[in-house]
Protein backbone atom coordinates (compact mmCIF):
# COMPACT_ATOMS: atom_id res chain seq x y z
CA UNK A 1 0.00 0.00 0.00
CA UNK A 2 2.78 2.41 0.95
CA UNK A 3 4.67 1.51 -2.21
CA UNK A 4 1.60 2.24 -4.34
CA UNK A 5 1.11 5.62 -2.64
CA UNK A 6 4.75 6.59 -3.11
CA UNK A 7 4.57 5.58 -6.77
CA UNK A 8 1.36 7.53 -7.36
CA UNK A 9 2.74 10.62 -5.62
CA UNK A 10 5.94 10.39 -7.64
CA UNK A 11 3.98 10.04 -10.89
CA UNK A 12 1.85 13.10 -10.12
CA UNK A 13 4.87 15.12 -9.07
CA UNK A 14 6.65 14.21 -12.30
CA UNK A 15 3.62 15.23 -14.36
CA UNK A 16 3.50 18.54 -12.48
CA UNK A 17 7.22 19.17 -13.00
CA UNK A 18 7.02 18.49 -16.71
CA UNK A 19 3.86 20.58 -17.04
CA UNK A 20 5.79 23.46 -15.46
CA UNK A 21 8.65 22.88 -17.88
CA UNK A 22 6.23 22.99 -20.79
CA UNK A 23 4.44 26.05 -19.46
CA UNK A 24 7.74 27.89 -19.05
CA UNK A 25 7.78 28.01 -22.85
CA UNK A 26 5.82 30.91 -24.30
CA UNK A 27 4.11 28.84 -26.97
CA UNK A 28 2.59 26.39 -24.51
CA UNK A 29 1.81 29.12 -21.94
CA UNK A 30 -0.55 30.80 -24.41
CA UNK A 31 -2.02 27.43 -25.46
CA UNK A 32 -3.05 26.88 -21.85
CA UNK A 33 -5.11 30.03 -22.18
CA UNK A 34 -2.91 32.40 -20.21
CA UNK A 35 -2.08 35.98 -21.21
CA UNK A 36 1.49 36.17 -22.52
CA UNK A 37 2.45 39.02 -20.24
CA UNK A 38 2.14 36.86 -17.13
CA UNK A 39 4.31 34.04 -18.48
CA UNK A 40 6.55 32.04 -16.16
CA UNK A 41 10.13 33.09 -15.70
CA UNK A 42 12.87 30.65 -16.55
CA UNK A 43 13.56 29.97 -12.92
CA UNK A 44 10.49 27.76 -12.89
CA UNK A 45 12.66 25.25 -14.73
CA UNK A 46 14.74 24.95 -11.55
CA UNK A 47 11.58 24.30 -9.55
CA UNK A 48 10.62 21.62 -12.05
CA UNK A 49 14.07 20.02 -11.82
CA UNK A 50 13.94 19.91 -8.04
CA UNK A 51 10.49 18.32 -8.13
CA UNK A 52 11.80 15.73 -10.61
CA UNK A 53 14.67 14.84 -8.29
CA UNK A 54 12.35 14.59 -5.30
CA UNK A 55 10.10 12.30 -7.29
CA UNK A 56 13.15 10.18 -8.07
CA UNK A 57 13.86 9.88 -4.36
CA UNK A 58 10.27 8.78 -3.78
CA UNK A 59 10.68 6.08 -6.41
CA UNK A 60 13.86 4.79 -4.82
CA UNK A 61 12.28 4.94 -1.36
CA UNK A 62 9.38 2.82 -2.53
CA UNK A 63 11.15 0.37 -4.83
CA UNK A 64 14.83 0.21 -3.98
CA UNK A 65 17.65 1.68 -6.02
CA UNK A 66 17.55 -0.59 -9.08
CA UNK A 67 13.81 -0.75 -9.66
CA UNK A 68 13.35 2.81 -8.37
CA UNK A 69 15.68 4.48 -10.86
CA UNK A 70 14.32 2.52 -13.82
CA UNK A 71 10.78 3.32 -12.70
CA UNK A 72 11.67 7.01 -12.40
CA UNK A 73 13.10 7.19 -15.93
CA UNK A 74 10.04 5.41 -17.35
CA UNK A 75 7.61 7.64 -15.42
CA UNK A 76 9.37 10.76 -16.75
CA UNK A 77 8.97 9.41 -20.29
CA UNK A 78 5.31 8.62 -19.75
CA UNK A 79 4.71 12.08 -18.29
CA UNK A 80 6.38 13.82 -21.23
CA UNK A 81 3.90 12.11 -23.54
CA UNK A 82 1.02 12.85 -21.15
CA UNK A 83 1.87 16.55 -20.98
CA UNK A 84 2.29 16.75 -24.75
CA UNK A 85 -1.07 15.06 -25.31
CA UNK A 86 -2.72 17.35 -22.74
CA UNK A 87 -1.34 20.35 -24.61
CA UNK A 88 -2.59 18.95 -27.91
CA UNK A 89 -6.10 18.05 -26.90
CA UNK A 90 -7.03 19.71 -23.59
CA UNK A 91 -4.60 22.61 -23.06
CA UNK A 92 -7.11 24.31 -20.75
CA UNK A 93 -6.50 21.51 -18.24
CA UNK A 94 -3.04 22.93 -17.68
CA UNK A 95 -4.63 26.27 -17.03
CA UNK A 96 -5.05 25.42 -13.37
CA UNK A 97 -1.35 24.75 -12.88
CA UNK A 98 -0.54 27.82 -14.97
CA UNK A 99 -2.74 30.10 -12.86
CA UNK A 100 -1.35 28.87 -9.52
CA UNK A 101 2.22 29.21 -10.75
CA UNK A 102 1.46 32.64 -12.20
CA UNK A 103 -0.02 33.82 -8.93
CA UNK A 104 2.97 32.52 -6.92
CA UNK A 105 5.27 34.33 -9.30
CA UNK A 106 3.30 37.55 -8.94
CA UNK A 107 3.43 37.29 -5.14
CA UNK A 108 7.17 36.63 -5.20
CA UNK A 109 7.69 39.71 -7.36
CA UNK A 110 5.66 42.01 -5.09
Amino acid sequence: MLEALLTLTAAMAIYLALALLALSQEDHWSRAGMPPATRLAHRWRYVASIVLILAGLLCVAGHGVGFGLILWVMLVGAAIVAVALTLSWRPQWLGGIARVAGRLQAHAKS
Partner: protein
Protein backbone atom coordinates in the same frame (compact mmCIF):
# COMPACT_ATOMS: atom_id res chain seq x y z
CA UNK B 1 28.12 12.03 -46.40
CA UNK B 2 27.39 15.67 -47.28
CA UNK B 3 29.55 18.57 -46.38
CA UNK B 4 28.58 18.99 -42.78
CA UNK B 5 28.25 16.50 -39.95
CA UNK B 6 24.65 17.57 -39.45
CA UNK B 7 23.70 16.95 -43.07
CA UNK B 8 25.39 13.58 -43.12
CA UNK B 9 23.43 12.59 -40.02
CA UNK B 10 20.14 13.61 -41.68
CA UNK B 11 21.06 11.54 -44.75
CA UNK B 12 22.08 8.58 -42.60
CA UNK B 13 18.92 8.78 -40.52
CA UNK B 14 16.65 8.68 -43.60
CA UNK B 15 18.45 5.86 -45.34
CA UNK B 16 18.97 3.70 -42.25
CA UNK B 17 15.33 4.26 -41.35
CA UNK B 18 13.91 3.33 -44.74
CA UNK B 19 16.12 0.25 -45.12
CA UNK B 20 15.95 -1.13 -41.58
CA UNK B 21 12.52 0.17 -40.56
CA UNK B 22 10.75 -3.03 -41.55
CA UNK B 23 12.92 -5.31 -39.50
CA UNK B 24 12.93 -2.82 -36.63
CA UNK B 25 9.14 -2.64 -36.49
CA UNK B 26 8.91 -6.43 -36.45
CA UNK B 27 11.43 -6.57 -33.58
CA UNK B 28 9.68 -3.82 -31.60
CA UNK B 29 6.18 -5.20 -32.23
CA UNK B 30 7.09 -8.74 -31.22
CA UNK B 31 9.18 -7.44 -28.37
CA UNK B 32 6.31 -5.34 -27.02
CA UNK B 33 3.99 -8.35 -27.15
CA UNK B 34 6.68 -10.45 -25.46
CA UNK B 35 6.43 -8.24 -22.37
CA UNK B 36 3.19 -10.12 -21.82
CA UNK B 37 4.18 -13.42 -23.43
CA UNK B 38 3.01 -15.39 -20.40
CA UNK B 39 -0.40 -13.73 -20.63
CA UNK B 40 -0.60 -14.46 -24.36
CA UNK B 41 0.24 -18.06 -23.49
CA UNK B 42 -2.73 -18.23 -21.10
CA UNK B 43 -5.01 -16.84 -23.83
CA UNK B 44 -3.74 -19.21 -26.51
CA UNK B 45 -3.52 -22.30 -24.27
CA UNK B 46 -6.84 -22.28 -22.39
CA UNK B 47 -6.05 -25.38 -20.39
CA UNK B 48 -3.16 -23.54 -18.72
CA UNK B 49 -5.52 -20.94 -17.25
CA UNK B 50 -4.98 -22.38 -13.80
CA UNK B 51 -5.57 -20.68 -10.46
CA UNK B 52 -2.47 -19.39 -8.69
CA UNK B 53 -1.00 -21.92 -6.27
CA UNK B 54 -2.07 -21.29 -2.68
CA UNK B 55 1.01 -22.98 -1.26
CA UNK B 56 4.40 -23.91 -2.72
CA UNK B 57 4.53 -27.36 -4.28
CA UNK B 58 6.92 -29.94 -2.86
CA UNK B 59 9.69 -30.66 -5.35
CA UNK B 60 9.71 -34.33 -4.38
CA UNK B 61 6.02 -34.57 -5.30
CA UNK B 62 6.87 -33.08 -8.68
CA UNK B 63 9.71 -35.55 -9.16
CA UNK B 64 7.40 -38.40 -8.26
CA UNK B 65 4.82 -37.21 -10.78
CA UNK B 66 7.24 -36.81 -13.71
CA UNK B 67 9.75 -39.63 -13.19
CA UNK B 68 7.53 -42.31 -14.76
CA UNK B 69 7.57 -40.22 -17.95
CA UNK B 70 11.36 -39.96 -18.14
CA UNK B 71 12.58 -42.64 -20.55
CA UNK B 72 15.60 -44.80 -19.78
CA UNK B 73 18.72 -43.30 -21.30
CA UNK B 74 17.53 -39.72 -21.05
CA UNK B 75 20.50 -37.40 -20.56
CA UNK B 76 18.53 -34.90 -18.45
CA UNK B 77 15.06 -33.88 -17.33
CA UNK B 78 13.96 -30.59 -15.88
CA UNK B 79 10.92 -28.89 -14.40
CA UNK B 80 10.46 -25.12 -14.45
CA UNK B 81 8.52 -24.20 -11.35
CA UNK B 82 5.29 -22.23 -11.40
CA UNK B 83 5.32 -18.46 -11.07
CA UNK B 84 2.41 -16.04 -10.54
CA UNK B 85 2.30 -15.43 -14.30
CA UNK B 86 2.94 -19.05 -15.34
CA UNK B 87 0.79 -21.31 -13.15
CA UNK B 88 1.59 -24.58 -14.94
CA UNK B 89 4.78 -26.57 -14.38
CA UNK B 90 6.96 -27.04 -17.48
CA UNK B 91 8.47 -30.51 -17.68
CA UNK B 92 10.94 -31.54 -20.35
CA UNK B 93 13.57 -34.19 -21.00
CA UNK B 94 16.34 -34.80 -23.52
CA UNK B 95 16.90 -38.17 -25.16
CA UNK B 96 19.89 -38.08 -27.49
CA UNK B 97 19.27 -35.15 -29.79
CA UNK B 98 15.51 -35.10 -29.24
CA UNK B 99 13.76 -33.09 -26.59
CA UNK B 100 10.22 -33.49 -25.38
CA UNK B 101 8.17 -31.02 -23.34
CA UNK B 102 4.87 -31.13 -21.48
CA UNK B 103 3.02 -29.06 -18.92
CA UNK B 104 1.60 -30.15 -15.56
CA UNK B 105 -1.18 -28.86 -13.39
CA UNK B 106 0.52 -28.42 -9.98
CA UNK B 107 -2.72 -28.83 -8.06
CA UNK B 108 -3.53 -32.29 -9.42
CA UNK B 109 -0.04 -33.27 -10.64
CA UNK B 110 -1.54 -34.44 -13.93
CA UNK B 111 -0.25 -33.65 -17.37
CA UNK B 112 -2.07 -31.01 -19.38
CA UNK B 113 -2.90 -32.20 -22.92
CA UNK B 114 -0.70 -30.81 -25.71
CA UNK B 115 -2.16 -27.41 -26.57
CA UNK B 116 -0.86 -27.59 -30.13
CA UNK B 117 0.49 -24.05 -30.26
CA UNK B 118 3.77 -22.21 -29.90
CA UNK B 119 1.83 -19.25 -28.46
CA UNK B 120 3.60 -16.22 -27.00
CA UNK B 121 6.66 -17.78 -25.49
CA UNK B 122 7.23 -20.20 -28.39
CA UNK B 123 6.47 -18.07 -31.45
CA UNK B 124 6.18 -14.38 -30.60
CA UNK B 125 9.15 -14.14 -28.25
CA UNK B 126 11.67 -16.06 -30.41
CA UNK B 127 10.44 -14.08 -33.45
CA UNK B 128 11.57 -10.97 -31.59
CA UNK B 129 15.22 -12.01 -31.32
CA UNK B 130 15.68 -14.46 -34.16
CA UNK B 131 12.95 -13.71 -36.74
CA UNK B 132 12.64 -17.52 -36.86
CA UNK B 133 15.46 -17.56 -39.42
CA UNK B 134 17.58 -20.30 -37.88
CA UNK B 135 19.88 -21.13 -40.79
CA UNK B 136 23.35 -20.20 -39.59
CA UNK B 137 21.76 -17.79 -37.09
CA UNK B 138 20.84 -15.46 -39.96
CA UNK B 139 17.88 -14.09 -38.03
CA UNK B 140 19.93 -13.22 -34.96
CA UNK B 141 22.56 -11.50 -37.09
CA UNK B 142 19.85 -9.51 -38.90
CA UNK B 143 18.39 -8.50 -35.54
CA UNK B 144 21.88 -7.48 -34.41
CA UNK B 145 22.36 -5.36 -37.52
CA UNK B 146 18.95 -3.79 -36.93
CA UNK B 147 19.90 -3.06 -33.33
CA UNK B 148 23.09 -1.28 -34.38
CA UNK B 149 21.02 0.61 -36.97
CA UNK B 150 18.63 1.59 -34.15
CA UNK B 151 21.49 3.03 -32.10
CA UNK B 152 22.69 4.94 -35.15
CA UNK B 153 19.12 6.12 -35.83
CA UNK B 154 18.70 7.36 -32.25
CA UNK B 155 21.94 9.37 -32.27
CA UNK B 156 21.48 10.70 -35.80
CA UNK B 157 17.86 11.51 -34.98
CA UNK B 158 18.79 13.62 -31.98
CA UNK B 159 21.56 15.34 -33.92
CA UNK B 160 19.16 16.06 -36.81
CA UNK B 161 16.49 17.53 -34.57
CA UNK B 162 17.15 21.23 -34.83
CA UNK B 163 14.67 22.60 -32.30
CA UNK B 164 14.82 19.88 -29.67
CA UNK B 165 14.13 22.05 -26.62
CA UNK B 166 11.58 24.33 -28.22
CA UNK B 167 9.57 21.42 -29.64
CA UNK B 168 9.96 19.06 -26.71
CA UNK B 169 6.26 18.89 -25.84
CA UNK B 170 4.92 19.67 -29.28
CA UNK B 171 2.32 17.49 -30.92
CA UNK B 172 -0.03 19.06 -33.45
CA UNK B 173 -2.50 16.31 -34.46
CA UNK B 174 -4.72 18.51 -36.59
CA UNK B 175 -2.08 19.62 -39.05
CA UNK B 176 -1.10 17.95 -42.34
CA UNK B 177 -0.19 14.28 -41.94
CA UNK B 178 3.46 15.06 -42.61
CA UNK B 179 3.60 17.59 -39.75
CA UNK B 180 1.60 15.46 -37.31
CA UNK B 181 3.66 12.40 -38.13
CA UNK B 182 6.92 14.27 -37.56
CA UNK B 183 5.67 15.72 -34.27
CA UNK B 184 4.64 12.28 -33.04
CA UNK B 185 7.90 10.79 -34.31
CA UNK B 186 9.91 13.36 -32.36
CA UNK B 187 7.74 13.01 -29.26
CA UNK B 188 7.84 9.22 -29.13
CA UNK B 189 11.57 9.29 -29.82
CA UNK B 190 12.52 11.90 -27.25
CA UNK B 191 10.16 10.98 -24.41
CA UNK B 192 11.38 7.40 -24.39
CA UNK B 193 14.94 8.08 -25.57
CA UNK B 194 16.61 6.47 -22.52
CA UNK B 195 14.31 3.46 -22.94
CA UNK B 196 14.97 3.10 -26.68
CA UNK B 197 18.73 3.39 -26.21
CA UNK B 198 18.97 1.04 -23.24
CA UNK B 199 16.57 -1.57 -24.58
CA UNK B 200 18.56 -1.72 -27.82
CA UNK B 201 21.98 -1.79 -26.17
CA UNK B 202 20.86 -4.33 -23.58
CA UNK B 203 19.47 -6.55 -26.32
CA UNK B 204 22.88 -6.55 -27.99
CA UNK B 205 24.66 -7.19 -24.70
CA UNK B 206 22.58 -10.33 -24.14
CA UNK B 207 24.11 -11.85 -27.26
CA UNK B 208 27.77 -10.89 -26.82
CA UNK B 209 28.85 -14.47 -27.47
CA UNK B 210 26.94 -14.51 -30.77
CA UNK B 211 27.86 -11.05 -32.04
CA UNK B 212 31.51 -11.26 -30.99
CA UNK B 213 32.10 -15.01 -31.36
CA UNK B 214 35.89 -14.60 -31.35
CA UNK B 215 36.03 -12.18 -28.43
CA UNK B 216 37.72 -14.73 -26.17
CA UNK B 217 40.29 -15.94 -28.65
CA UNK B 218 43.16 -13.60 -27.89
CA UNK B 219 42.78 -13.82 -24.11
CA UNK B 220 42.30 -17.60 -24.12
CA UNK B 221 45.17 -18.42 -26.44
CA UNK B 222 43.38 -19.08 -29.70
CA UNK B 223 40.18 -20.43 -31.20
CA UNK B 224 38.75 -23.92 -31.01
CA UNK B 225 36.18 -25.62 -28.89
CA UNK B 226 38.36 -25.95 -25.77
CA UNK B 227 39.07 -22.22 -25.48
CA UNK B 228 35.43 -21.38 -26.03
CA UNK B 229 34.07 -23.83 -23.47
CA UNK B 230 36.66 -22.69 -20.92
CA UNK B 231 35.57 -19.10 -21.42
CA UNK B 232 31.86 -19.99 -21.17
CA UNK B 233 32.46 -22.02 -18.01
CA UNK B 234 34.43 -19.20 -16.38
CA UNK B 235 31.91 -16.53 -17.34
CA UNK B 236 28.54 -18.29 -17.06
CA UNK B 237 29.42 -21.25 -14.84
CA UNK B 238 29.28 -24.90 -15.80
CA UNK B 239 29.52 -28.18 -13.98
CA UNK B 240 29.70 -31.55 -15.60
CA UNK B 241 30.55 -35.07 -14.58
CA UNK B 242 30.30 -38.18 -16.69
CA UNK B 243 27.93 -41.07 -16.18
CA UNK B 244 29.05 -44.02 -14.08
CA UNK B 245 26.90 -46.47 -16.05
CA UNK B 246 25.72 -47.95 -12.77
CA UNK B 247 22.26 -47.60 -11.31
CA UNK B 248 21.64 -44.81 -8.78
CA UNK B 249 18.91 -43.26 -6.67
CA UNK B 250 17.43 -39.80 -6.31
CA UNK B 251 17.51 -38.27 -2.82
CA UNK B 252 15.09 -35.63 -1.57
CA UNK B 253 15.17 -32.58 -3.85
CA UNK B 254 13.33 -30.59 -1.18
CA UNK B 255 16.27 -31.15 1.14
CA UNK B 256 18.59 -29.83 -1.57
CA UNK B 257 16.28 -26.83 -2.04
CA UNK B 258 16.59 -26.10 1.68
CA UNK B 259 20.38 -26.11 1.40
CA UNK B 260 19.99 -23.80 -1.58
CA UNK B 261 17.78 -21.42 0.40
CA UNK B 262 20.51 -21.17 3.06
CA UNK B 263 23.26 -20.70 0.48
CA UNK B 264 21.22 -18.02 -1.27
CA UNK B 265 20.12 -16.23 1.91
CA UNK B 266 16.46 -16.90 1.32
CA UNK B 267 16.55 -17.18 -2.47
CA UNK B 268 14.40 -19.87 -4.06
CA UNK B 269 15.11 -22.09 -7.05
CA UNK B 270 13.19 -21.37 -10.23
CA UNK B 271 13.86 -24.75 -11.85
CA UNK B 272 15.18 -28.19 -11.10
CA UNK B 273 17.30 -30.18 -13.56
CA UNK B 274 18.48 -33.75 -13.06
CA UNK B 275 21.45 -34.85 -15.16
CA UNK B 276 22.04 -38.55 -15.98
CA UNK B 277 18.77 -39.62 -14.30
CA UNK B 278 18.91 -43.09 -12.80
CA UNK B 279 22.71 -43.20 -12.93
CA UNK B 280 25.01 -43.47 -9.90
CA UNK B 281 26.71 -40.25 -11.01
CA UNK B 282 23.44 -38.40 -11.50
CA UNK B 283 23.45 -34.84 -10.19
CA UNK B 284 20.81 -32.19 -9.54
CA UNK B 285 21.07 -28.57 -10.66
CA UNK B 286 19.23 -25.69 -8.99
CA UNK B 287 19.32 -22.05 -10.12
CA UNK B 288 18.04 -19.02 -8.20
CA UNK B 289 14.83 -17.23 -9.16
CA UNK B 290 14.95 -13.91 -11.04
CA UNK B 291 11.79 -12.57 -9.43
CA UNK B 292 13.22 -9.97 -7.06
CA UNK B 293 16.09 -8.27 -8.87
CA UNK B 294 16.77 -6.65 -12.19
CA UNK B 295 20.05 -8.58 -12.47
CA UNK B 296 19.56 -12.08 -13.85
CA UNK B 297 21.75 -13.87 -11.35
CA UNK B 298 23.87 -16.83 -12.35
CA UNK B 299 23.63 -18.45 -8.92
CA UNK B 300 23.71 -22.18 -9.45
CA UNK B 301 24.17 -25.18 -7.19
CA UNK B 302 24.88 -28.78 -8.11
CA UNK B 303 24.07 -31.69 -5.76
CA UNK B 304 24.90 -35.37 -5.88
CA UNK B 305 21.58 -37.03 -6.76
CA UNK B 306 22.04 -40.04 -4.52
CA UNK B 307 23.28 -38.36 -1.32
CA UNK B 308 22.20 -34.73 -1.70
CA UNK B 309 25.76 -33.57 -1.04
CA UNK B 310 26.65 -30.16 -2.46
CA UNK B 311 29.12 -30.66 -5.31
CA UNK B 312 29.60 -27.23 -6.84
CA UNK B 313 28.45 -23.65 -6.46
CA UNK B 314 28.80 -20.72 -8.86
CA UNK B 315 27.81 -17.08 -8.98
CA UNK B 316 28.50 -14.28 -11.41
CA UNK B 317 31.62 -12.16 -10.93
CA UNK B 318 31.04 -8.42 -10.44
CA UNK B 319 31.85 -7.76 -14.11
CA UNK B 320 29.59 -10.58 -15.25
CA UNK B 321 26.88 -9.12 -13.01
CA UNK B 322 26.99 -5.97 -15.14
CA UNK B 323 26.28 -8.06 -18.25
CA UNK B 324 23.53 -9.85 -16.33
CA UNK B 325 22.08 -6.54 -15.09
CA UNK B 326 21.93 -5.31 -18.69
CA UNK B 327 20.36 -8.62 -19.71
CA UNK B 328 17.86 -8.31 -16.90
CA UNK B 329 16.94 -4.78 -18.02
CA UNK B 330 15.91 -6.35 -21.31
CA UNK B 331 14.43 -9.73 -20.32
CA UNK B 332 12.38 -8.26 -17.43
CA UNK B 333 11.97 -11.60 -15.69
CA UNK B 334 11.34 -9.80 -12.41
CA UNK B 335 8.07 -9.39 -10.55
CA UNK B 336 7.01 -5.74 -10.92
CA UNK B 337 3.70 -4.97 -12.54
CA UNK B 338 4.09 -1.18 -12.79
CA UNK B 339 7.42 -1.52 -14.50
CA UNK B 340 6.12 -4.27 -16.80
CA UNK B 341 3.28 -2.03 -18.02
CA UNK B 342 5.68 0.89 -18.47
CA UNK B 343 7.94 -1.34 -20.57
CA UNK B 344 4.87 -2.25 -22.65
CA UNK B 345 4.17 1.45 -23.20
CA UNK B 346 7.84 1.99 -24.01
CA UNK B 347 7.74 -0.75 -26.61
CA UNK B 348 4.58 0.70 -28.12
CA UNK B 349 6.26 4.11 -28.30
CA UNK B 350 9.05 2.41 -30.26
CA UNK B 351 6.46 1.03 -32.69
CA UNK B 352 4.89 4.50 -33.04
CA UNK B 353 8.39 5.93 -33.58
CA UNK B 354 9.10 3.63 -36.50
CA UNK B 355 5.63 3.85 -38.05
CA UNK B 356 5.54 7.67 -37.93
CA UNK B 357 9.04 7.74 -39.35
CA UNK B 358 7.80 5.87 -42.41
CA UNK B 359 4.70 8.08 -42.71
CA UNK B 360 6.80 11.24 -42.52
CA UNK B 361 9.24 9.95 -45.15
CA UNK B 362 6.40 8.90 -47.47
CA UNK B 363 4.36 12.13 -47.14
CA UNK B 364 7.46 14.24 -47.64
CA UNK B 365 8.29 12.64 -50.96
CA UNK B 366 4.87 11.64 -52.31
CA UNK B 367 4.26 14.67 -54.49
CA UNK B 368 7.80 14.87 -55.84
CA UNK B 369 8.05 11.18 -56.71
CA UNK B 370 4.64 11.25 -58.42
CA UNK B 371 5.66 14.28 -60.45
CA UNK B 372 9.03 12.84 -61.47
CA UNK B 373 7.68 9.32 -62.03
CA UNK B 374 10.00 7.84 -59.40
CA UNK B 375 9.19 4.45 -57.90
CA UNK B 376 10.63 5.15 -54.46
CA UNK B 377 7.44 6.08 -52.63
CA UNK B 378 5.50 3.26 -54.29
CA UNK B 379 8.07 0.64 -53.28
CA UNK B 380 8.65 1.92 -49.75
CA UNK B 381 4.95 2.45 -49.16
CA UNK B 382 4.11 -1.20 -49.86
CA UNK B 383 7.03 -2.26 -47.70
CA UNK B 384 5.96 0.02 -44.85
CA UNK B 385 2.32 -1.05 -44.99
CA UNK B 386 3.17 -4.74 -44.82
CA UNK B 387 5.72 -4.09 -42.10
CA UNK B 388 3.47 -1.99 -39.87
CA UNK B 389 -0.26 -2.65 -40.23
CA UNK B 390 0.58 -5.91 -41.99
CA UNK B 391 2.41 -7.57 -39.14
CA UNK B 392 -0.29 -6.44 -36.72
CA UNK B 393 -2.92 -8.07 -38.95
CA UNK B 394 -0.84 -11.23 -39.25
CA UNK B 395 -0.56 -11.43 -35.46
CA UNK B 396 -4.33 -11.08 -35.11
CA UNK B 397 -4.77 -13.82 -37.71
CA UNK B 398 -2.41 -15.97 -35.61
CA UNK B 399 -4.61 -15.40 -32.52
CA UNK B 400 -7.79 -16.05 -34.51
CA UNK B 401 -6.45 -19.27 -36.01
CA UNK B 402 -5.53 -20.38 -32.50
CA UNK B 403 -9.17 -20.11 -31.46
CA UNK B 404 -10.58 -21.61 -34.67
CA UNK B 405 -8.35 -24.65 -35.22
CA UNK B 406 -9.59 -27.69 -33.28
CA UNK B 407 -7.18 -29.46 -30.94
CA UNK B 408 -7.99 -32.97 -32.07
CA UNK B 409 -5.70 -35.30 -33.94
CA UNK B 410 -7.32 -34.95 -37.36
CA UNK B 411 -4.54 -32.47 -38.15
CA UNK B 412 -1.89 -35.14 -38.03
CA UNK B 413 -3.36 -36.32 -41.31
CA UNK B 414 -2.20 -33.17 -43.04
CA UNK B 415 1.34 -33.99 -41.94
CA UNK B 416 1.56 -30.65 -40.20
CA UNK B 417 1.29 -30.18 -36.44
CA UNK B 418 -1.40 -27.76 -35.37
CA UNK B 419 1.23 -25.27 -34.20
CA UNK B 420 2.76 -25.20 -37.69
CA UNK B 421 -0.61 -24.47 -39.29
CA UNK B 422 -1.10 -21.54 -36.91
CA UNK B 423 2.28 -20.09 -37.84
CA UNK B 424 1.53 -20.76 -41.50
CA UNK B 425 -1.56 -18.57 -41.19
CA UNK B 426 0.61 -15.80 -39.74
CA UNK B 427 3.08 -15.88 -42.65
CA UNK B 428 0.37 -16.24 -45.28
CA UNK B 429 -1.56 -13.23 -44.03
CA UNK B 430 1.65 -11.25 -43.58
CA UNK B 431 2.70 -11.91 -47.18
CA UNK B 432 -0.74 -10.92 -48.40
CA UNK B 433 -0.51 -7.56 -46.59
CA UNK B 434 2.63 -6.66 -48.54
CA UNK B 435 0.96 -7.50 -51.85
CA UNK B 436 -2.11 -5.53 -50.77
CA UNK B 437 0.16 -2.64 -49.81
CA UNK B 438 1.90 -2.61 -53.18
CA UNK B 439 -1.37 -2.87 -55.10
CA UNK B 440 -3.51 -0.41 -53.16
CA UNK B 441 -0.69 2.00 -52.23
CA UNK B 442 -1.72 4.75 -49.81
CA UNK B 443 -5.30 3.44 -49.52
CA UNK B 444 -3.99 0.23 -48.02
CA UNK B 445 -3.13 1.98 -44.74
CA UNK B 446 -6.80 2.67 -44.15
CA UNK B 447 -7.93 -0.72 -45.48
CA UNK B 448 -5.67 -2.57 -43.10
CA UNK B 449 -6.59 -0.35 -40.15
CA UNK B 450 -10.23 -1.26 -40.72
CA UNK B 451 -9.31 -4.95 -40.98
CA UNK B 452 -7.44 -4.68 -37.65
CA UNK B 453 -10.48 -2.97 -36.12
CA UNK B 454 -12.62 -5.89 -37.29
CA UNK B 455 -10.30 -8.79 -36.52
CA UNK B 456 -9.33 -7.79 -32.97
CA UNK B 457 -12.89 -7.91 -31.55
CA UNK B 458 -13.43 -11.14 -33.51
CA UNK B 459 -10.54 -12.69 -31.60
CA UNK B 460 -12.09 -11.56 -28.31
CA UNK B 461 -15.45 -13.02 -29.37
CA UNK B 462 -13.85 -16.32 -30.38
CA UNK B 463 -12.16 -16.54 -26.99
CA UNK B 464 -15.56 -16.07 -25.38
CA UNK B 465 -17.22 -18.68 -27.57
CA UNK B 466 -14.49 -21.32 -27.36
CA UNK B 467 -13.52 -20.95 -23.70
CA UNK B 468 -16.39 -19.16 -21.99
CA UNK B 469 -13.89 -16.67 -20.56
CA UNK B 470 -15.52 -13.39 -21.56
CA UNK B 471 -13.93 -10.38 -19.84
CA UNK B 472 -16.28 -10.31 -16.85
CA UNK B 473 -15.92 -14.04 -16.28
CA UNK B 474 -12.14 -13.85 -16.65
CA UNK B 475 -11.99 -11.12 -14.03
CA UNK B 476 -14.16 -13.05 -11.59
CA UNK B 477 -12.30 -16.33 -12.16
CA UNK B 478 -8.93 -14.65 -11.62
CA UNK B 479 -7.77 -15.15 -15.22
CA UNK B 480 -6.19 -11.70 -15.26
CA UNK B 481 -3.89 -12.45 -18.17
CA UNK B 482 -6.83 -13.38 -20.36
CA UNK B 483 -8.75 -10.29 -19.24
CA UNK B 484 -5.76 -8.10 -20.03
CA UNK B 485 -5.34 -9.63 -23.47
CA UNK B 486 -9.04 -9.18 -24.36
CA UNK B 487 -9.00 -5.56 -23.14
CA UNK B 488 -5.84 -4.79 -25.11
CA UNK B 489 -7.39 -6.36 -28.22
CA UNK B 490 -10.47 -4.15 -27.84
CA UNK B 491 -8.27 -1.09 -27.29
CA UNK B 492 -6.35 -2.00 -30.44
CA UNK B 493 -9.63 -2.11 -32.34
CA UNK B 494 -10.60 1.37 -31.11
CA UNK B 495 -7.19 2.83 -31.99
CA UNK B 496 -7.20 1.17 -35.41
CA UNK B 497 -10.70 2.48 -36.16
CA UNK B 498 -9.69 5.98 -35.07
CA UNK B 499 -6.62 5.85 -37.29
CA UNK B 500 -8.69 4.53 -40.20
CA UNK B 501 -11.19 7.37 -39.87
CA UNK B 502 -8.42 9.95 -39.54
CA UNK B 503 -6.70 8.62 -42.67
CA UNK B 504 -10.04 8.56 -44.47
CA UNK B 505 -10.65 12.22 -43.62
CA UNK B 506 -7.22 13.16 -44.91
CA UNK B 507 -7.84 11.42 -48.21
CA UNK B 508 -11.17 13.25 -48.41
CA UNK B 509 -9.31 16.53 -47.93
CA UNK B 510 -6.88 15.74 -50.73
CA UNK B 511 -9.69 14.95 -53.15
CA UNK B 512 -11.57 18.18 -52.41
CA UNK B 513 -8.43 20.26 -52.53
Amino acid sequence: MDRTFSKSMVWLHSWAGVIMGSVLFAIFWMGTLSVFDAEIDRWMMPQTRLPAATQPVALDNIAQAVLPSVPAGASQWRVDLATPREPALSFSYKLGKESHAQQLDPASMTFIPDQGTEAGSGFIFPFHYSLHLAWFDTGKWLVGLAAMAMLVLLVSGVVSHKKIIAQFFTFRPRKRLQRSALDLHNLSGLAALPFHFLITLSGLVIFITIYFPQAHEAAYGGGGEKARSTFMAEAYGRYKRPKANLPGTLASIDAMAQVAEREWHGGQPYFVRVWHPGDANSYVELRRSYANDITMNLDQLFFDAGTGALLHRFQASPVMSVQRFMSGLHFIRFNHWTLRWLYFLGGLSGCVLIATGYLFWLEGRRARHAKLGLAGVRVVEGLAIGSVTGIILATLAFFTANRLLPLDLAWSQTGWPRATVEMGVFYLVWSATFIHGWLRARHAWRDQCWLIAALAPLAVTLNWITTGDHPWHAMVAGHHGVLGMDLMLLLLAVLAATAARRLGNLEGKVVHA
